[in-house]
Symmetry: C3
Subunit: 668 residues, 3 copies
């Protein structure tokens, strides 16, 4: 498109129509060029069954266009109007307290045929009106799919049985997969299966839990893909996305690639405060994952981003965060939201307009941001990210690990590992899937890659033999697709010849409790003497003769024992670290160990807190450095660059203010 | 009456009738002159449907009278007998786990017509027997109305819809008030409304939550007012009250003034331990509120007070606490309870009698208390409290703030603010409502006065212009009656010209987390250099030119920025403080700032921990100073006083022992 | 039997039959001689209603026997197969969230006649097959009876009413016992009683709660006794036990003695880590209780013990723990479990075999353990434990104390008291019941012995008068069988003449909070100057003239006041301690005070951390000292002993390595 979509969400249905024009004008005056509308508007469109009213929204779209603002249109199925619930109570899902009461949002049962039918109907009517509207450039499906994480109701129970029957064919196959012979849970038919609600002692089997996650994910993808089909059936050429509430969560965004044009996520990570940029690493991870998810287009959207940081953060943080988005491949940002909601659950949400209609304190920052993007984004539009390193993410593994409801330990460690490697390497990182091609990376980190198919294992092993550097921990390859333990060494990769294998383990919590009296940290010391706190499970290793120990434990009976080994395999190297850490500093140290073999140079010589990325287009390379700290930083350039925002040559020592941004063109 | 009602609760139905006489005699021997009986006695009175038995209670009342003890009689509707539940399950309410099981108390559904009918019947039968009994001086309605805070059951759902229909008239009006266009919650009819139970993602709208609170409160007042009507219909001249479990809670005691003679509350704040008298400030607040609630009579009852402090508190604490009650306007105290319950949920409760029937260790203290009150209370009976300052309490605001179920942040800050102002001023404080006349106060503090009607706003503004000193924070006047945000500056009072307005905010929890690494306190420094921890929301202020900054923040990006301003308006002053504090010491500092303008002199020059009050009667002024600490204190009198308890003149430096009391008459 | 049963659990139904032989051979190769099988195997035996298949299990038993391994057979009723639940939903119990979903284990309703009928049927069919199998030496009934602690469902409600009717005869008797006159809970018939689920304000009466516990316990014992009857009816001579999940819990193991041959428990206390042996004291307590429960046989079984300690513990810990079991009277240990479960809820459980089929790291330790037991256990087989001291445990008291669901405060204090006394005395301890004969003990400690029958009180008093030393706290004898308070002094024993009585109390939590500003520990100082933290309730004592104060409080208003007294009564002594302590060091100090009167000599002069026991057989005394610490210890012998494991004489100073064991024969 060439133009960066910088905009805001807006809910015309909340406000008197006579105020819309003023609001759109205020958007335009600030430099915004896009608006997202229609999310949750089902009641507005269809106030009573079968009575469809899209005229008002058409007028809103047209009014926005008059101010030079294009529209991202939303489907409405993350809510349902009271008349539908009143007529068909089955359209509501439930949690472990029972069926949801009416109110809130996103409690609709995605298994209910009634709900699906009405959702199809409203989407189709809406698509008829807007699928060919030139002022509507894209569609958002639903809202933050995945919430509220569970759906326990009679419709889901029935569909879960059918889903299982399709997956397993016979009940015997399911019994094997779920290991139901334990505790006499052997089913004679699919009809005997109940949803995993209110367990007696012990709970549900790992196989069942993983399958429930898969079913839940499929249910969402089923609804969304149907909506995409309906819109396209009306001849729409608009791009289609949905706003994931984090793309590493309860719905497989990997599966969603089959029907979405782009990926998008709601970037509510906090803005930088003081000099702590930890959450910016998290947004980097989501960005890199979303870039992977955008069907090869190497770009993605920020569907929601906070319109105003809280009072302990500087307004400049909004600009820094947005440039971080751009640096990773964003082609648009929608601020949430434009005008303070006076009522409803999100009453008083941070908005671009204050309650009295004046702009919030970020006004000058957003103006500058809009102006810079308008002037220079075309350079980056269509650019690619080339990464020498990647982190492997796996939905199956995330779902197979307890605690997934918010951020399970899998996701937490994945985020810290990705961030640690990216930060240590000062480089672009890709996030990839186990089924992806690894061969183009010098270094691949794959935390907690427990579940692996035979084919995936073979490719991983080949990657190392061919010269790749692979970083794993002991759980790698220890389970099959049904979440069943492999009867093999831990880790099982390379036939258990990974430089070391696990002979025992202890949780870091137990270790901490037991060693607290001795005042010992639960940590690992690398050979350079640096010590890092670790977490999760600590594995005791039996080290092979040809492996090199690069770190040791510091506590308890494990003190002085190996906490990580490297083994050369073929032309590559395998790095095995023996404990997780909810701590990106630990993964930075691990990255330095791995990079002794991968030898990836940094993009820039930047101090800690400056996040560096590059984008390539038409043979040119653009470096983007964002100072995520509030204090100034100094870069050291190894040659002259062209500073795009300031339009001047730079070289040598370059100062970058707190929360400021450098967009530089490399000489090609 | 002239006589202070000092008594105890007693449950004759628990004990063999032959022991009653001994128990009443033991009460009398200690100096008690009142007993509260009949609470929860429905099963005793009506063991089977329609069989009424009041003879035993009549005998109990008569026996007490023989010992010189008058009776406070209770209605019984805080429980219901098993036969009623068995016959009509609908009489039980429910919570978010479903309908209550049988057992406990106070789970009766107040919307059930069946329950109301049976409650009316038992009350009427009881009233017929006791409404004209000269030994019964007053009636307590029900027990601790408000518990258990919610009532979720089918009867309540139906009545809630009717209540809403009466309130709003049309469903369109409700939709506007609840802002239902957000998330497609637009109702087509009142029948579509469900109780706020088991929310899906997001929860219930602020408008709905506030209305549920109002409905809940009205439901209780409906039952209680009906009981009062029934008693009076029998010709009763006895006074009627109920024992609020704290008067600032889930039922509007303001509304209850229409049918109650007096207000009363159950004073279970802890007795003073060590030198910490924080909870005594809480009881002062409840006292001041109850005095306001007593229909202009300037006096109230303590319906329950702990009969024995725990082993870490001195027995003298019982006396100190009771004199604090008297100082604020109590005309009676009922100790809970007389005799140790041998079974039931309240088994082993602190009682005046030990398990072996001997008096507990407070015996000498209670004897002295009884003797002093007998000798001197007549001086104070009918006296008035004259306060130069007031704190504004609002049920609507309390209910509109999340967290109300126990003590929401509104109530917590109200309590700390009231206590801080009272303590700093060493003066009487009134608690008043937004609809009250402010003109008689020199100083009014109105914490978190978010919801304000147009008329109330006008009077508040006039109060300042006419010379009043008003203390507010930024949320003042930012919402309307339906809990909808005003589209105006924050705060909105005085057209947003309050000396400053808010441009951003941050929660103190976020601030604390972010600044913990830097070791910064989340606090505010006043111009005198004193620093106080703050809590809740911190507002960043844009200060007007004509305002004076009196305090600044000490942490994070807010460090050095204004945390409070004063602005002269008309002949008065407006004090705007920019953060809450769950900390009365902060409000003391605020009171000193405000008092620079109000210039209220102290009642007495008393050191910290001595709580001073005054009562006026027949032109005389009585000062009451209670040392709430365990250690001695010294007062400095500016002239001679007459020490009523010791019957001597005092002047100059006066020592007051730990937990001791001074009742002094001013020379008129 | 002469042979120690050292074995493992094994689930043949989980594995291909062709692998069984290899697995049994691996057991035998390690030195194991027993296997426990069939737990939870209902689905395997009866895959469809009425189709019984025991052939496979018969083959498994025979295969094990071929390797010299005897079988402990389990009944299967801790689970139920899906077809049974599908046909009769009533077989599932419920908790306070409603009926259990299907899955997990142990959620079967023990009140359901349908469940009981099917449980009887499967047990009978199983008994027909195995009751006379010579390779099956014993039967385990069900699994860990007691979990999941509650059973709330319609069948239980009906049976609870019947149970109450049998207990009380008339509803009037129940009303008295439950003190239902409080809060108008007076029942007119047993049909009005509901299960204690979802209380309104206040909850359930202590009488009801205790009766629900009793009913729950009886329900379990009913099922288990029926299973024992069925097995014996088939002519079985095999011993019968069940694996209590701790014998001091939710089912009365005392009642279970009527149908069990032996007691057994699942010893999952952690193995020793560092030098902390606190949990080993807990296992000692369970051992001593189980010895009492084994119907006079003075021996018991460890039905489950962890097969591998975690990585922070040394493998030797397995051996130390097992010898501790033996020292207290175990005649067998079953490790849980042999082979890693690849799926199901207990996926990946610690097992003797690693996932790859190799032995775990404890292999050499288990080999040595097996060899030692094979060589020497016959000396101890049939031996007796003779204890000079005992601790009194009472199921009624445990159930009468709030918090029982996991470990209530009663059980927690009992465990610490038992451990402290055992440790201080360096002696055997018995655990006994209030109805037992005390006369053979020099010292009896009876923590929190609140509920006591008249007969029990009389015997306790006589015990002291006859020369015994009794240790109690103030709650002793303050309640009757229905959990009703006695109207008497606290404590009520000896007519309230216990050297002191309570005049007030305070919770240690309140005390800690109130004194935290002063930096005071909530503790007690003994006359020797040593200070110990205390917990629970602190009682203020009024001390009698003839009592000796042995400790005082250190904090708050109680500072310097008596915290414990001793009084000589008859030829004995009564020790009254005034506060609980979740701290065995405190009880050690108490034991030293009490032992001034009891004068019990230690078994051995052993340093802290070495747990000493003795066993007697055929006139010989065997001393067993287990070093529960990781560091070496030194014993001082007062004469020569014969070291059985090393087969040599020892005397004087004897070193015992960390986690090592000394089995020594005394010269007779």
């Amino acid at each position: 498109m060439g133009v960066y979509l910088l905009g805001s969400s807006y809910y015309p249905e909340w406000w008197p129509e006579e105020e819309w024009k003023r609001d759109f004008a205020k958007m335009a005056a600030l430099g915004l060029n896009a608006v997202r509308m229609g999310e949750f508007a089902w009641s507005w469109y269809e106030p009573r069954e079968g009575e469809f009213h899209f005229e008002a929204m058409r007028r809103a779209v047209a009014l926005a266009a008059e101010e030079g603002i294009v529209t991202l249109m939303c489907t409405t199925t993350a809510v349902c109007p009271p008349w539908l619930y009143q007529k068909y109570p089955e359209v509501k899902g439930g949690n472990d307290h029972g069926l949801y009461g009416f109110g809130g949002r996103k409690g609709n049962c995605l298994s209910s045929d009634v709900f699906l039918e009405y959702a199809r109907k409203i989407t189709e009517e809406q698509a008829k009106v807007f699928a060919n509207d030139k002022n509507v450039v894209g569609w958002q499906l639903d809202n933050e799919p995945g919430f509220p994480f569970v759906c326990y109701d009679p419709c889901c129970e029935k569909k879960f049985r059918k889903w299982l029957e399709r997956r397993y064919g016979t009940i015997e196959a399911l019994n094997r997969a779920w290991f139901t012979m334990m505790w006499s849970n052997v089913y004679n038919s699919f009809d005997e299966i109940r949803l995993p609600v209110n367990a007696a002692e012990g709970g549900w089997s790992p196989g069942m839990k993983l399958d429930y996650r898969r079913f839940f994910s499929d249910n969402f993808n089923n609804l969304l893909s149907e909506e995409a089909r309906i819109i396209r059936a009306q001849g729409s050429k608009q791009f289609i996305f949905t706003n994931w509430p984090g793309a590493n969560w309860s719905v497989s965004c990997e599966d969603a690639m089959s029907y979405l044009d782009y990926s998008a996520w709601d970037n509510y990570v906090s803005v930088p405060v003081n000099d702590d940029y930890h959450v910016q690493l998290r947004s980097s991870m989501e960005h890199d994952l979303c870039r992977r998810l955008s069907n090869g287009k190497q770009r993605f959207l920020i569907a929601e981003q906070c319109a105003a940081p809280h009072a302990n953060a500087a307004p400049e943080a909004v600009r820094a965060q947005t440039w971080l988005d751009v640096a990773h491949g964003a082609f648009g940002n929608i601020f949430f939201e434009f005008r303070v909601p006076t009522g409803g659950v999100e009453q008083n949400y941070h908005s671009i307009l204050n309650a009295d209609g004046t702009y919030n304190r970020c006004e000058p920052v957003i103006r500058k941001l809009a102006a810079d993007l308008k002037a220079h984004y075309s350079l980056l539009d269509g650019a690619e990210t080339v990464s020498p390193a990647a982190a492997v993410y796996s939905y199956q593994n995330s779902w197979a690990t307890p605690g997934w409801v918010v951020d399970g330990p899998y996701d937490e460690d994945f985020f810290e590992a990705h961030g640690g490697f990216k930060n240590a390497l000062r480089q672009n990182m890709d996030v990839i899937f186990p089924s992806d091609d690894f061969s183009k990376y010098k270094l691949v980190v794959a935390p907690n890659l427990m579940i692996l198919s035979d084919e995936e294992r073979a490719r991983l092993e080949q990657y190392v033999r061919d010269g790749g550097v692979l970083v794993i921990n002991p759980v790698a390859d220890t389970r099959g697709e049904s979440n069943l333990i492999r009867e093999a060494r831990v880790p099982a990769l390379f036939d258990g010849q990974c430089g070391a294998h696990s002979v025992a383990s202890v949780s870091s919590a137990d270790m901490a409790k037991q060693q607290s009296a001795a005042g010992e940290r639960v940590s690992v010391r690398f050979n350079d003497g640096e010590e890092y706190d670790v977490a999760g499970t600590l594995y005791e290793l039996a080290v092979e003769d040809d492996a090199e120990v690069f770190a040791e434990y510091t506590c308890g009976r494990l003190k002085g024992k190996a906490a990580g080994v490297v083994k050369r395999i073929g032309r590559g190297a395998l790095v095995l670290y023996a404990s997780d850490a909810r701590n990106y500093r630990y993964y930075e140290a691990l990255a330095r160990v791995a990079n002794r073999f991968a030898e990836i140079p940094p993009l820039l010589d930047a101090p800690d807190g400056v996040i560096v990325s590059s984008r390539q287009k038409d043979g040119e390379t653009y470096l983007i450095a964002v100072n995520a700290k509030n204090s100034p930083a100094e870069l050291t350039l190894d040659g002259p660059l062209f500073d795009v925002l300031r339009q001047c040559e730079i070289s040598g020592k370059v100062r970058i203010d707190g929360l400021d941004v450098l967009l530089a063109k490399k000489r090609s």
